[in-house]
Symmetry: C2
Subunit: 354 residues, 2 copies
């Protein structure tokens, strides 16, 4: 903070709040926050309301907990005077216009509010050993769920039922919750990368995209497999082998020091060479951690540089409206400059015919 | 919009987006949006990325779907010129400083960005018949879960297991998901209103706060009951009868035309008269709808006026660190100026000894 000429930092993003303080309070979207951090050179304050004061005191031992009686700005108005802060940073990616205006109204006239972007997010991108351990555990739970899934994916089971089976398995097998609502997209629905599972019964011979993740100590895993019940047709086989080649190529050749854009191009070139378009349908991947989507982003335009200790997905996909789609996703970390694939579930074509 | 002198409205809040368009795309917090609406006098645009374009086209028939290739500001830079918009409103409660600054950078120099507060939120507060039906269905599912719970709450079951049982019952009994992560807070944990269920086994004779909700067509229910396994002690009985009296008093006397603050005082006076403090530990209640917390807010300082068609919780609580707590919560709507209690689960003291 002192390098940036900042006297204080106001943290509003839930994942950054947990990362820095250990406080696991859950926000109630869209408008209700479980709390904020205010960090200065000499003080670490956690501001939260009466519902979570006791929890915050137990979990965030290094922070002094301050009770918000009405709303954050009123509490700031009480505590800021006399703290002598002239430059207070906030998270520009997260703070709303309303809170910004309200906080501005209560700081002293000569205090400057400075937007910062990705300060804590960048710290979060490189994982410490304890974080990596939680991530590995979350990956192992997701892998176990795939083995379980293979036994229950039968024609006639609906997407929603299958999504529920994934979630129930995770939750009763050690996951704190799901990292996100599982995606089960069957047949033509599989052309929608973020399809919400519905009442469509899955059928033999069609592509079924399954995308799920577990959560351990707050840390998320994320995996996608695309399966066919019975035998895959030629269209599926041809497309699957291209996506798998793009996915494994990126997974093998990715290195620390590369930009997200360079990583993206590793897979994109394979897809383009096979005639599947000059752009991927979505990014190649994203970091995972306390948030399911976080830095680094492996996008066409991403100038972020990959580093040892980062953990991210590699998940190219192809989507044909009317027909369906294919996506294959593993989690990968970098160590000694090179990739280590964390996900263990099989992904060769033969293993996808279930 | 024209009354407010606005040419366009940019909607970023997920619940407002769904309310206005029908698009159910799910955002991935904290930073990833499933899309935005841009509404003018003659156009209704839904801007979303490639992952959800097809879903948006199916669900939001009245909207023209525009694909976001990289990020929202780039797409706005392409489509705004020539639309002749000089005053574009946005949701000040939701838009981040970053998006605001980026959008400002791409609008034409003479275009004004105008923060609005609670415009769509206020529309959402008064429910239409179809919304009320979904809310009633979600309440019925939550009520059914309570009956189920009574059969499985036994000494030795952990908070986390009980929370999972609630969720599993809801999800397999017709709920799209939980309205929020169920709260199970036993014994001393019950003094934390937003306690996250842990590995503590519940025990006979102690207060156990259970707080859960179902979701139907996106609409949330919310209920709290405080039970004791076996026989309640005198402390519990005394406190329970006060909280129940405060809760039923507010439930019976609440009327359209009252402010949220006046509603709050109905319960607060009962608690104060019993020597339980001059303020409630948290608000008396909150609206529910597509969001679990929305307008109206029944707070000490709320000047919002209650109207027919609003649906909100009434949930006073008392919390004693070291001992535990008691909260009782129903959902209520107003019709013909008077309250209709939607929640059917029993709440008299005898029924709480399970």
């Amino acid at each position: 903070m002192s390098n940036l000429g900042l006297d204080a930092m106001l943290i509003s993003q839930p994942e950054s709040r947990r990362y820095l303080s250990g406080f696991t309070g859950q926000d109630t979207p869209p408008l209700d926050s479980a709390g904020y951090l205010l960090i200065t050179a000499s003080k670490a304050l956690l501001l939260t309301d009466g519902r979570t004061v006791e929890q915050a005191e137990k979990e965030a031992a290094e922070y002094q907990v301050v009770r918000i009686d009405t709303r954050l700005p009123d509490t700031l108005a009480q505590i800021l005077p006399g703290m002598g802060l002239s430059r207070i940073a906030f998270e520009g990616n997260h703070l709303t216009i309303r809170l910004y205006e309200e906080v501005k109204a209560v700081v002293e006239p000569n205090t400057l509010l400075v937007p910062t972007y990705d300060l804590v997010d960048t710290m979060r991108a490189v994982k410490e050993p304890g974080e990596l351990e939680a991530l590995r555990d979350a990956v192992a739970l997701a892998d176990a769920a795939f083995a379980h899934l293979l036994g229950i994916a039968k024609p006639g089971v609906t997407e929603r039922e299958l999504a529920w089976e994934i979630e129930a398995f995770l939750r009763t097998d050690g996951s704190e919750g799901v990292a996100f609502n599982p995606i089960v997209a069957s047949g033509p629905n599989a052309s929608m990368p973020h399809h919400v599972p519905g009442d469509r019964p899955i059928q033999a011979g069609e592509p079924i995209i399954l995308d799920w993740g577990a959560r351990v100590k707050g840390y998320c895993s994320d995996i996608t497999r695309t399966v066919v019940i019975g035998e895959a047709d030629e269209q599926f086989k041809r497309l699957y082998s291209v996506v798998l080649e793009a996915q494994t190529r990126a997974e093998q050749r990715i290195r620390a020091g590369m930009t997200g854009a360079k990583a993206y191009s590793l897979a994109q070139k394979v897809m383009a060479a096979a005639g599947l378009g000059e752009e991927l349908a979505h990014s190649l991947g994203h970091g995972v951690g306390l948030a399911i989507h976080e830095k680094p982003y492996l996008r066409k335009t991403s100038e972020e540089v990959l580093e040892d200790g980062m953990v991210f997905s590699i998940e190219p996909g192809v989507y044909l409206p009317g027909w369906g789609g294919i996506r294959i996703e593993d989690l990968v970390t970098l160590r000694g400059g090179k990739p280590i694939v964390l996900t263990r579930s099989p992904k060769q074509l033969e293993a996808m015919e279930v």
